[in-house]
């Protein structure tokens, strides 16, 4: 598992690979928190290389979305969500809480 953060002019990009589950979810939460502590609330989460995500992952994303949207200061958007993960988000209606982009360029270009 690796988590990488890149800061751009209008947003930061967080990329994680492998599994997001009860074992790794907290590390992702830490990464999002670290970005927010730098005063950045416009986030792109690049899911290209995520191959599994349990509900632990959504809650990390939901908590991050809540923090980002507070005071209208920003938003977290998702990019390149693998089909199987998207299907499971759809199943519980979690997809409603996030803008989802087909590619990272569009997601960064959105901010």
């Amino acid at each position: 598992m690796a988590i990488e953060t890149t800061e751009y002019k209008r947003c930061s990009l967080v990329k994680m690979d492998g599994r997001i589950d009860s074992n790794t979810g907290d590390s992702l939460m830490d990464a999002f928190n670290a970005v927010q502590e730098n005063g950045i609330f416009k986030l792109v989460f690049d899911m290209t290389d995520v191959d599994f995500m349990s509900s632990k992952g959504w809650w990390v994303l939901i908590q991050t979305q809540k923090a980002c949207k507070r005071y209208n200061r920003g938003e977290i958007v998702l990019a390149n969500v693998p089909k199987k993960i998207l299907d499971s988000l759809d199943l519980v209606g979690m997809n409603h809480y996030f803008k989802i982009f087909d590619d990272v360029v569009s997601a960064v270009g959105y901010f």
Binding site: D21, F52, S54, S55, W59, Q65, D87, G93
Partner: protein, 135 residues
Amino acid sequence: MASKVFPGEFSSLEKISDFIEKHAQICGLDENATYAVRLAVDEACSNIIEHAYGGEGLGNIECTCNVLEDGLEVVLRDKGKSFNPDDIQEIEVGIPLEKLGNRGAGIFLINKLMDEVHFEFSKQEGTTLVLKKKK
């Protein structure tokens, strides 16, 4: 039939996932069905560690895969505490973000993903969860 005992720790989740994947493929489940079972089992095992045992390293999870004619049966056994599955509230979808909680949906998801979900609780033998996914 293949059975394996995993320590009740979050680091076991990936190994359990791999074990399930292997047997789902043996049963001829397609990619989507295989992912569904992996996800349901992951949710169930996370619950066992968190809720049944109340933490990591406090007990084992026994995982059994049975090849059925029409799919895969997964049986999970633990010695942790029981609960009433009927008490679990459905997750509300479509509510505003601020009103969303910070957890939940595991059981809800398991029910959505699997064709059969069956809990058995026994004072002597602990909890048995039987999950079935058709091809």
